[in-house]
């Protein structure tokens, strides 16, 4: 049901030309995805997806759009053939891969049998935090999170690098150097 929503949105994105609409649909896509995450018990992820996908990304895209203009040039020739072939090839490979997957929600899937039980059974005692996601995130796999912070830090630096200068300077930017 919700996935069907997503399919509609995704195809709408393919079809639409108006960039604003595309951005809004992308935001919508994130919203729906977040609902799906809630349904799949991934509340933390839903939380983040809501804040990021629907919020920050959309605002950023709009900011970009406000700087680049929303007019979208019509492509002269739809050069669709090769992309379609590539996409279908990839998709078929993936679908081929699904045939041996454990079913959705299968409690006997390897994912549920290995590694994870430790988190579920022992983390409240070992780490003492009720939210297992937090304990895995911050403790068991705390280093990933350090990496994640580094990624965000990198993004901050990268944006500064990219947008700091190179143009006529406005008084505002002067102040910023203080």
């Amino acid at each position: 049901m919700l996935l069907a929503f997503l399919v509609v949105i995704a195809f709408a994105v393919i079809h639409l030309r108006d960039l604003v609409a595309i951005i809004m649909l992308a935001g919508l896509y994130s919203l729906v995805t977040a609902i799906i995450f809630v349904v799949m018990d991934a509340v933390d992820v839903a939380f983040t997806e809501a804040a990021v996908g629907a919020g920050i990304s959309t605002v950023l895209m709009l900011a970009t759009l406000s700087l680049t203009g929303r007019l979208r040039r019509e492509p002269r020739r739809p050069r669709a053939l090769i992309p379609i072939i590539v996409v279908i090839l990839t998709g078929v490979t993936l679908i081929y891969g699904t045939f041996d997957m454990p079913h959705y929600g299968d409690p006997d899937a390897p994912v549920q049998q290995h590694v994870a039980p430790r988190y579920i059974n022992d983390s409240p005692n070992e780490v003492g935090v009720p939210n297992m996601v937090t304990s895995v995130l911050a403790s068991y796999r705390g280093f990933d999170t350090l990496g994640e912070v580094a990624v965000i830090f990198t993004a901050g630096i990268a944006v500064m690098v990219l947008l700091m200068n190179r143009r006529r300077r406005s008084p505002d930017e002067d102040k910023e150097q203080s």
């Binding site: 994105v13 992820v45 590539v86 996409v87 299968d106 297992m132």
Partner: protein, 120 residues
């Protein structure tokens, strides 16, 4: 038949992924490409999250009082949290680049950009 029913949600996710992928590789507008990239990545996230779900399970936050609750696997959640952050970082960077490209080239269309590159 039962087999197929257990997999259909994966298929839809794959279709979604491919839709995003298609936008990325076919669109010549850079902003649309980024939007496609977002969709692609988000769909991958769904794939991950769906593997962590257990039938009858609940979110992996300890329910006080009940000791026999079934919890879904928290590990994919953690991974995807990280991946989302990576995704937004990429998006921000890409958009900053688009802004600069627009300033430098006056367009955000890939074909137009490569055209004006070739003129040089």
């Amino acid at each position: 038949m039962n087999d197929l029913l257990g997999l259909y949600s994966y298929w839809i996710v794959i279709v979604l992924m491919m839709a995003g992928f298609y936008v990325v590789i076919s669109s010549s507008n850079l902003i649309k490409k980024i939007a496609g990239l977002n969709i692609f990545q988000t769909s991958v996230f769904i794939l991950y999250i769906s593997m962590g779900k257990v039938d009858g399970g609940t979110a992996p936050i300890v329910v006080e009082g009940s000791s026999n609750a079934i919890y879904s696997n928290p590990l994919p959640h953690v991974l995807i949290l990280t991946a989302i952050v990576v995704g937004v970082a990429t998006t921000a960077l890409a958009l900053a680049l688009v802004v600069r490209i627009k300033e430098a080239y006056g367009t955000v269309d890939e074909e137009a950009i490569s055209e004006s590159d070739n003129e040089l």
